[in-house]
């Protein structure tokens, strides 16, 4: 069965391992522009491992990944890093810097020249204006999470790889996140979201990758 080149991100016959243990075999999926996939499975089933491989942190041992039909190596391709934003378990915030300084520092990572307006918009969107000068060590868990998500707002990317994005967020924070997420998808963005709660009541995913069935 041959398929024509598909738009978006496609993975074929991936194998997930942690150390020597095989977590999943022949994993194939496609994320198309404007859609997202939900990544489910019990603890330790390889959700984070899969996201890290797609982000370019973990090594892709077996299988292929395609972008708009072209195979690429997520670890090596700089343009993949530019079109992807990965948000892992850690918030990626320096505790000794304020939210605004953290976002500016993140801007240097993205190679963007001092995006003041975007940063202010991101901070404003997540309701952090009154905290933007506060050092991140002094913020609550949920406030830090909001600051991490403000990064998604300030630095647009076509592919989001999110690991439990709504942990520690209050109801209002979750609503803000999903309204932003909806906008991201409407603009043709894509996402893979690892989650324990079904996100379908917010936005219906295009599909689900269920990990953790015995390989």
């Amino acid at each position: 069965m041959s398929k024509g080149p598909s738009l978006g991100l496609e993975a074929r016959a991936l194998e997930l391992r942690r150390g020597r243990r095989l977590l999943a075999r022949s994993l194939s999926f496609t994320v198309e522009p404007g859609n997202y996939l939900e990544l489910t499975g019990p603890n330790g089933s390889g959700k984070s491992t899969l996201l890290r491989i797609l982000a370019g942190l973990g090594r892709l041992e077996t299988g292929d990944v395609f972008w708009n039909g072209t195979a690429f190596n997520p670890q090596k391709e700089e343009c993949h890093h530019a079109r992807t934003l990965y948000l892992g378990h850690t918030d990626g915030l320096k505790g000794l810097l304020s939210i605004r300084e953290n976002l500016r520092l993140f801007g240097t990572l993205r190679g963007i020249h001092d995006p003041v307006d975007e940063i202010e918009k991101g901070i404003g969107f997540y309701g952090l204006q009154h905290l933007k000068q506060v050092v991140c060590d002094r913020l609550s868990q949920g406030q830090r999470r909001r600051a991490a998500l403000a990064r998604l707002h300030a630095f647009p990317a076509s592919l989001w790889l999110l690991d439990e994005p709504t942990t520690a967020l209050d109801r209002e924070g979750v609503e803000r996140f999903f309204s932003h997420f909806r906008l991201h998808l409407e603009r043709g963005g894509m996402a893979l979201v690892a989650t324990h709660q079904s996100l379908a009541r917010w936005i219906t995913p295009a599909g689900e990758i269920a990990l953790g069935r015995s390989p």
Binding site: H81, T90, D91, T108, G111
Partner: protein, 222 residues
């Protein structure tokens, strides 16, 4: 502002905010150096002969004590993993990170070295060469040490392992560095030793950032 300069400035700003932790080793070793003349017999030129060695061991220890936390906090806060998957050069970022590390651990020692030289009654004519040697040597030590820190990033209790990796590599730099100052003090030609230090300096600055980047990438692969 240039993003790299901004990055460098931010790193320095972070060190300034945790200056107690960063600067204390340096203060401690400076005090130790100042204790030598008080405890040794100041006559007989023993002190003057030991001075380059004392200052160089000081510099090495000041660098070494900072190594364990060089990447540790960035690693725990999830900053380093964002470095690895950023579309900008990891090598250049590592270079600026180590440069800021040098600025907080070694530059102050370089600045107090004239005082140490006076205090240890080392001939002043050797001061210039001592400082040039210290500059070349401490930069080399910072980069080599950073490589050790990157290689042991994900291991527990890595400081002992860094010591075992770092000290043998540091030894030749200390030998040539201290030797160049001794030669200058005796009014002999210090250039052979300095040239060796300079060679190590350029090799290290050119190659080691790449090695550190590779080490960081590998530590996130598993």
């Amino acid at each position: 502002m240039n993003p790299w300069l901004f990055f460098f400035r931010t790193e320095l700003g972070i060190s300034w905010r945790e200056r107690r932790r960063v600067m204390l080793p340096l203060v401690f070793f400076s005090i130790v150096a100042f204790l030598f003349p008080l405890t040794l017999n100041p006559k007989g030129h023993l002190l003057a002969r030991m001075a380059p060695g004392i200052i160089w061991v000081d510099a090495m220890l000041a660098v070494f004590l900072g190594l364990e936390s060089l990447f540790r906090h960035d690693h725990e806060e999830g900053i380093l993993e964002q470095w690895v998957i950023s579309p900008t050069s990891l090598e250049l970022r590592v270079l600026f990170k180590v440069a800021s590390f040098w600025t907080v651990t070694s530059l102050p020692l370089l600045l107090v070295s004239p005082l140490l030289v006076l205090w240890l009654s080392f001939p002043l004519r050797g001061l210039g060469i001592l400082m040039v040697g210290l500059f070349l040597g401490t930069v080399t030590l910072c980069f080599l040490g950073a490589l050790g820190a990157a290689l042991t990033l994900t291991l527990r209790q890595s400081s002992m392992l860094i010591a075992i990796l770092f000290l043998p590599i540091a030894t030749p730099i200390l030998i040539f560095g201290a030797h160049s100052a001794v030669l200058a003090a005796r009014q002999l030609d210090p250039r052979p030793a300095l040239y060796l230090l300079a060679t190590l300096f350029f090799l290290t600055v050119g190659i080691v950032p790449k090695a550190i980047s590779a080490a960081l990438r590998i530590s996130y692969e598993t």
